[in-house]
C-alpha cells in the first residue's frame, strides 16, 4: 500500500538553524524514510520554540517545539506524523495564542510557505499585488501606496508614497529601486527573516515600486553578516527570472525590471541610505550631504527609490488588498502593522507583527513574558543602537512614531531589546559612544572625535573625580553631536546616552561628596 507522504516542516531560517534545525530535519528524514516529505519553511517567528517542527494533518498543521535532534526518535515513536500527544506538542500552530493574537500582514506567508517554491508563493496569494499594479497606471499605484499611509520601516518613518511620487516625477531614462537590507540595528532581524522566509514578497514589492516610478533596475543591498539571506534571495531571484516575474517582460507586459543582490562590507554606516548608495557605486561608504535627495539624485546620480525591506515587503499586500485595509490598522499617523522584534534577555523572543499602538509593556511582558533569566526587567532599548533606553515605568507608551518621539525615544526599525536588573546602564551608555566611534564614517568631527571623547567622559563620570564638571561636559558633547552631525549616526548616539542618564542616574557613580 502506498499513500501520499506526510509533510513535515522544519524551518530553514538561520535563527532556527542556529539552534539545531538542520540536525532535526536530517534526523526526521533519515528515521522516517520515504513516508515523509520534509519542507524547509521560514520561521513562524516564535524563536524561543525553535526548532519548531510542524506536521501537516487533516486537522491542520500541528506544532512541536523546541525539538532537539535527540527528541526526534521519541517524537516519531509517539506518533508525530499523526499529530499525536507528546510533551513537546503545542497544538495547531496557528492557534498558539502568541501567534494567533498577531496581525500578520507583511509576514503573512513567513513560516507558512516553502520560501523557494514559486508555486507555493502563487498558491498563497503571491503576485496578486503585482498583477493588480500592472493593471493600473504608475500614478494610480503611487496614489494607492500614499493612501495606505505606509511609512518607511527602516527607521525614519518617511511616507513611502511621497518618496515614490518624487521619483516618478523626475525625468530620467534610467531610474533605480534600491532595497536597504543592511539591517545593522542590533535587536532587529525582521528583514532577515522576510528575506529567508518569503523572498518573493520582497521581489514582488520591488517590481511594483519599479513600475510605479518608472525604474528598470533594482538592487538589494544585504549586509554580509547574513550569508543565508543572500543565498536565499539569489536563488529566489533566479527562479523569478525563470517564471518571467523579472526580466525584459515582467508578467508578459511591456515592462522590464532587472534585480541584483549586492553584499555590504561589514560597515554599520552603510545602512544610512546615502552611504549605502556610495557603497553600491563601489566607493567608501561616506555619507552624502542632502540635498540633493536620493529620490532626485541617487544611485549614480539617477532618481532612486531607497526603501527598507519591510517597506517594500508590505507593498504587495497593500496592492492586493487595497490601501484602505492597511490604513484601517494602526493609530494616528502610524498606519498599518509594524513587525516588532523582541530580543535580548527575553523569555519569549521573536517576531510580533501587530498594528501600531500596542504598548511597550504588552510587547515585553505580554508577548515577551519578561526576562529569560527570570530576574526583573530593568531596561529596554527600543529602535536599535541609536534608540533610547526606557525603564519599566514607561511600559505604558504606545508603539507609535509620534508618541515615542514625544518621549525622546524612537520606534526605529521596531527592535525591542530587554535587559534584566543586572545591567549596568553606565556601561550601556559607554557602549553607545564606543559603537559610534567604531562605526562613524569619519566625515564630521562631532561624530568621529566626539564619540571618542564621550567614552572618556563617561569613564571619568563613573570614576567620580569631578562628576559635576564631567556631567556638564557630557551634556555639552551630546548637544554638539546632536546639532553638528551630518547624519543620525552622530546625531542620535546621544539618545541612548541621555536616556540612560535620565532614567538610571544612580548607575553613573556618585560624587566624592555623595560617597562620604
Amino acid at each position: 500500500m502506498t499513500s501520499e507522504p506526510t509533510t513535515v516542516y522544519v524551518p530553514r531560517d538561520s535563527a532556527a538553524r542556529s539552534v539545531g534545525a538542520d540536525q532535526v530535519a536530517e534526523r526526521i528524514a533519515e528515521t522516517a524514510g520515504p513516508g515523509v516529505r520534509v519542507v524547509r519553511n521560514g520561521s513562524r517567528g516564535m524563536l524561543w520554540l525553535e526548532p519548531l517542527v510542524e506536521v501537516a494533518t487533516p486537522a491542520g498543521r500541528v506544532a512541536y517545539g523546541p525539538v532537539r535532534p535527540d527528541d526526534v526518535d521519541g517524537l516519531l515513536a509517539a506518533g508525530l506524523l499523526d499529530g499525536a500527544e507528546h510533551p513537546l506538542r503545542l497544538g495547531p500552530a496557528e492557534e498558539i495564542p502568541w501567534l494567533r493574537d498577531q496581525t500578520r500582514v507583511t509576514f503573512a506567508r513567513v513560516g507558512v510557505v516553502d520560501p523557494l517554491s514559486p508555486d507555493d508563493y502563487v498558491a498563497h496569494g503571491g503576485l496578486a499585488g503585482l498583477t493588480r499594479a500592472l493593471s493600473l497606471t504608475p500614478e494610480q499605484v503611487v496614489a494607492e501606496v500614499t493612501d495606505s499611509g505606509l511609512r518607511g520601516r527602516g527607521g525614519a518613518g518617511f511616507p513611502a508614497g511621497i518618496k515614490w511620487k518624487t521619483v516618478l516625477g523626475a525625468a530620467s531614462e534610467l531610474k533605480f529601486v534600491c532595497c536597504n537590507a543592511d539591517e545593522g540595528d542590533s535587536g532587529t532581524f525582521a528583514d532577515r527573516m522576510l528575506m529567508e522566509g518569503d523572498p518573493f514578497t520582497l521581489i514582488e514589492g520591488m517590481a511594483i515600486a519599479a513600475w510605479a516610478v518608472g525604474a528598470s533596475e533594482g538592487y538589494v543591498y544585504v549586509r554580509s553578516e547574513y550569508p543565508d539571506a543572500v543565498a536565499t534571495l539569489r536563488t529566489a531571484i533566479d527562479a523569478a527570472y525563470e517564471r518571467g516575474w523579472l526580466g525584459k517582460r515582467v508578467l508578459d507586459r511591456d515592462f522590464g525590471f532587472d534585480l541584483f543582490v549586492r553584499v555590504g562590507g561589514g560597515a554599520y554606516i552603510c545602512g544610512e541610505e546615502t552611504s549605502m548608495l556610495e557603497s553600491l557605486e563601489g566607493k567608501r561608504g561616506m555619507v552624502r550631504a542632502k540635498p540633493p535627495i536620493p529620490a532626485l539624485e541617487g544611485l549614480f546620480g539617477r532618481p532612486t527609490v531607497v526603501n527598507n525591506v519591510l517597506t517594500l515587503g508590505s507593498v504587495p499586500m497593500i496592492m492586493a488588498a487595497g490601501a484602505a485595509a492597511f490604513a484601517g490598522l494602526g493609530v494616528g499617523r502610524s498606519r498599518g502593522t509594524q513587525v516588532f522584534q523582541l530580543g535580548g534577555n527575553v523569555a519569549r523572543g521573536g517576531i510580533v507583527e501587530t498594528a501600531f499602538g500596542v504598548t511597550l509593556g504588552e510587547l515585553v511582558e505580554g508577548y515577551g513574558g519578561g526576562t529569560r533569566s527570570g530576574r526583573p526587567v530593568r531596561a529596554v532599548q527600543v529602535g536599535g543602537p541609536l534608540g533610547a533606553y526606557l525603564p519599566t515605568s514607561r511600559f505604558d507608551l504606545p508603539m507609535d512614531y509620534e508618541a515615542f518621539a514625544a518621549a525622546e525615544a524612537m520606534v526605529g526599525h521596531g527592535g525591542v531589546v530587554v535587559f534584566d536588573d543586572t545591567v549596568d546602564m553606565a556601561a550601556q551608555a559607554r557602549f553607545a559612544m564606543e559603537f559610534c566611534a567604531a562605526e562613524s564614517c569619519g566625515k564630521c568631527t562631532p561624530c568621529r572625535i566626539g564619540a571618542v571623547r564621550g567614552v572618556e567622559v563617561i569613564d571619568r563620570i563613573v570614576a567620580g573625580r569631578d562628576r559635576t564638571r564631567d556631567l556638564k561636559l557630557l551634556d555639552d558633547l551630546c548637544h554638539l553631536m546632536t546639532e553638528g552631525s551630518l547624519c543620525a549616526m552622530g546625531g542620535l548616539t546621544p539618545m541612548p546616552v541621555r536616556s540612560a542618564l535620565t532614567h538610571f542616574p544612580g548607575d553613573f557613580g556618585a560624587t566624592t561628596e555623595e560617597r562620604r
Binding site: 524563536l47 535587536g187 554580509s224 563601489g282 530580543g343 523572543g349 543602537p385 531589546v417
Partner: protein
C-alpha cells in the same frame, strides 16, 4: 612557465573580468577576491586600479573602509562573536572574554598556528537567541561557555 607574480595578477584580472558588467564593480570584485584568496593582498591594489580605471588611492580607500576586507591572510576559521546590545543582555561580553583567554589572542587576531581568527561583530540578526557566534558562515545561537569551547576546539 608562469611566474607566481604573473599568475597572481592573472587571478585578480580574471575575477575582475567576471564582474565586468556589474555597475560599481569594486565591492563585488573585492568580495570575490576575499572568497578565493582569503584576503586582499596589497599587490592586488594597483592591478585593480588599472583594470577598473580607478586611482590606487581610491581602491586602497575602499579596502580599508570596510571591516570585511583584510590585507593579511586570516586564520583557517573565522570565529565572530556578537558584541551588540541584545547579546550583551545575555552574556555576550563574558563569551568574548572566554574566547580571548581560550585562544590566547585578542579580537581581530589570529592564533599562532593559523587556525582561528577571532573577531567581534555587531549583531548577527539572531537577537532573540543570543549570545550569538558565527563560525565561518555558520550561525550558532544561545551559545554557552561549553558550546563555545566545543566550537573553538572544532575550529582548532
Amino acid at each position: 612557465m608562469t611566474s607566481p607574480a604573473l599568475s597572481f595578477a592573472d587571478q585578480v584580472r580574471s575575477v575582475v573580468a567576471r564582474h565586468r558588467d556589474d555597475r560599481g564593480a569594486l565591492l563585488p570584485v573585492l568580495h570575490s577576491l576575499m572568497e578565493e584568496l582569503g584576503h586582499i593582498d596589497p599587490a592586488a591594489i594597483p592591478i585593480l586600479a588599472d583594470e577598473l580605471n580607478l586611482s590606487r588611492a581610491d581602491v586602497h580607500g575602499v579596502v580599508t573602509f570596510y571591516h570585511d576586507f583584510r590585507q593579511t591572510p586570516p586564520g583557517r576559521t573565522k570565529v565572530r562573536i556578537c558584541r551588540a546590545e541584545a547579546c550583551q543582555a545575555v552574556g555576550g561580553d563574558e563569551l568574548v572574554e572566554r574566547a580571548k583567554s581560550r585562544t590566547g589572542v585578542g579580537l581581530g587576531e589570529t592564533t599562532p598556528d593559523g587556525a582561528i581568527t577571532l573577531e567581534q561583530v555587531f549583531c548577527l540578526g539572531n537577537c532573540a537567541l543570543g549570545p550569538s557566534v558565527q563560525v565561518g558562515d555558520r550561525l550558532y545561537g544561545r551559545v554557552g561557555a561549553q558550546q563555545l569551547d566545543r566550537l573553538l576546539e572544532g575550529a582548532a
